[in-house]
Symmetry: C2
Subunit: 411 residues, 2 copies
């Protein structure tokens, strides 16, 4: 068994890291900003102090290996933030990985590696760093990506002095497992008074922009039966979609119609156009596929009922990803042995673990987000939860390494 990891040291590290890129209460470490690079270099220095061999690739992916090992339990997340972000999202996973690496003695051939992926928050593309690491995205394509202000990744990178085309690449044969500790970003653990959630699946997403087109008419002089009301198309669709999901979607699925715009948008004008943003998330591939089929059916029915036309624009679907049953089980046993009551959970948000899961046995650990908040300066967790998360992460890594050492002995 390793010496115990220190939650105090982890929290102190996180507090120091949270001084980089701070403006007011919030953190601004947008990927490929000066502050993002500063944070990465600070983490790199801490990795080296801990005796790890580090490597920063030309896209900002940072890795630190316990020297002398052939196979690793890889632990990590990211240190970039959304604008006005919080101190735990991403940072917790990286710094907890480092704390585990500090105390985990290497086996004959096995040890811990720590990774901070680049641009998880998607300034240029969500999960950019892990997608490069796993070969889902070529460096050439990545360089051509632009952010919402039209800046190309190549230029943003050059501005902070990064260049070249070195890319850290996953070698699955060298990685026993990938582990990620993250705040829940939702209210469930807090709501149930629990400190440990173990992710079974990361949800898939079906998204569409549903655009109704009717006819702008005087809303006082046009009889109801002669209208082609784009806004009512959208309201009717929204309610029918909600009803269908409530009845037909796999338990645990969630959906949202958080964006809508009607034009011209006046009291006395029947809306000519209305666009509504539709999102459905589920860990079940069947549910995702069902909704992909159902969105056009419901939209057509709403359009027909309101004499409008409708157009469906896909908006980036994502398939659900299951975590490794074996590693998840090790994690659950470790949590239970430490006296926690781990809750199996579905992650409704995407994480680098999604990208890793198809290539290496992957598991994710959640601790509560206070008030369910994240991506905001109010993002927080308790010291108890941070301590619990670190302990379970560390015990899981230790057990995986122990199993690996046994396997080696058998080889």
């Amino acid at each position: 068994m390793p010496s115990n990891p220190s939650a105090e040291r982890l929290i102190a590290d996180l507090r120091t890291l949270a001084t980089i890129g701070r403006k007011g209460q919030g953190l601004y470490r947008r990927a490929f900003s000066e502050q993002d690079l500063e944070a990465r270099l600070w983490v790199k220095a801490r990795m080296e102090e801990a005796g790890l061999e580090t490597s920063l690739d030309s896209f900002g992916n940072l890795i630190g290996y316990t020297p002398g090992c052939e196979r690793y339990v890889l632990i990590g997340s990211h240190t970039d933030t959304v604008p006005n972000g919080g101190w735990l999202d991403g940072a917790l996973g990286v710094m907890a990985g480092l704390e585990v690496a500090r105390v985990m003695p290497p086996g004959r051939e096995t040890g811990v590696a720590v990774i901070s992926f680049s641009d998880e928050e998607g300034r240029f593309c969500p999960l950019l760093g892990s997608q490069l690491f796993c070969g889902h995205l070529s460096p050439q394509s990545a360089l051509g990506l632009v952010d919402e202000s039209g800046t190309a990744l190549a230029d943003a990178r050059a501005q902070i002095g990064l260049s070249g085309d070195t890319v850290l690449r996953l070698d699955p044969s060298r990685h026993v497992a990938y582990l990620e500790l993250h705040i829940e970003q939702g209210p469930i653990l807090e709501h149930e008074g629990l400190e440990i959630g173990i992710v079974s699946d990361i949800v898939g997403i079906a998204r569409a922009r549903v655009r109704f087109r009717g006819q702008a008419d005087h809303a006082g002089t046009t009889p109801m039966a002669l209208r082609r009301d784009a806004a009512r198309g959208a309201y009717l669709f929204a309610e029918e979609f909600h009803r269908f999901c409530s009845e037909a979607a796999e338990s645990g699925s969630v959906w949202n119609l958080g964006g809508i715009r009607a034009e011209p948008g006046a009291f006395n004008v029947v809306a000519e156009r209305a666009e509504i943003l539709v999102e459905f998330r589920s860990s079940s591939s069947d549910s995702i596929r069902l909704m992909q089929r159902q969105i056009p059916i419901l939209a057509q029915a709403a359009a027909q009922a309101t004499r409008a036309d409708v157009e469906i624009l896909p908006a980036g679907d994502v398939a659900p990803v299951a975590m490794s049953a074996r590693v998840t089980e090790v994690m659950a046993r470790a949590a239970t042995a430490l006296g926690f009551r781990p809750k199996p959970m579905v992650s409704g948000a995407g994480h680098d673990a999604m990208t890793m899961a198809p290539h290496v046995s992957t598991a994710m650990l959640f601790i509560p987000s206070l008030g369910g908040r994240s991506h905001t300066p109010e993002e927080h967790s308790t010291d108890e939860a941070l301590t619990a998360g670190l302990a379970v992460l560390s015990a899981t890594a230790a057990e995986l390494l122990a199993q690996e050492i046994q396997l080696e002995a058998v080889r």
Copy 2:
């Protein structure tokens, strides 16, 4: 009987008037613009050519009287337009009134007067001129009104050289009736292949801004049951409002929810705020009152169902107005005698006739709008319909004057 009014002359007048303020295909005679004043002065000159005694007040209301009479049938409408407006809305009523005045011989004490009200389209206030004329609005209050760019009426007026506080005021004892000929601004007459509509009532309006307030949460990580979804509050309210109106509203009522905004308005964020614009129109005071009571009830229910809060902001209610049964009957008989099948109609749009009706016996005549369009350069009617409208208007005025002459004889 008068000599016949000339539809050719009316159409020629309207075509000439439509050259004033033209930009591209559309008309720009916003109230208190140079073009608006130019049109009024042009109409004033035409009135004088027809032998009328004219008066232009310091707010742009223009009236022309047949000289020597003590009592009048007043006919009119307005010559200001919405930006990018059409050639018939308002202008038809004024120029048809003038054509009737041209051919209607004065009785011993009775004749025709023609009025062009100021700012019917509401640059500063809807029905501004007729409200001044009827004393619903004081000149002092009017001068303080501002348009949507913040310009005060006093300044706009000064810029085109109007000043002073002369205000034409209605003397009910001198007016037998007020008549207004207008395009329908809706599709009903065209839809039914009819040329004459006779307005029985002008609708009242109940309006509200319904604001839902919930909580912005991550739409992937917040379970459905824990959300406070402002957007769903609005969608649910919209559908319940539609259902309630469909079942409970007096026949002929119309409603619209043409404006909605959800914030922050993203795929993956549960909406924190949503505002929806609600309008209901009916000729029945009971229906208007029912909806004024029902909007808060339905909004509260939708808010409760979606765990949001709701606030209702009134947005300018208007009571319904009935036209004079006696004058309407004269008009219907005149139309039938001329071989038309007049359709009793409710006006869903507001008109100066609304302001006049409480003070003087008032009736309105509709002719079809092609495609139901108005407030657009495509606004049009057929020569046949224009001819029909003028004939019915003229015959109605003649009959009212004839009745007045008989009454005088009895006095």
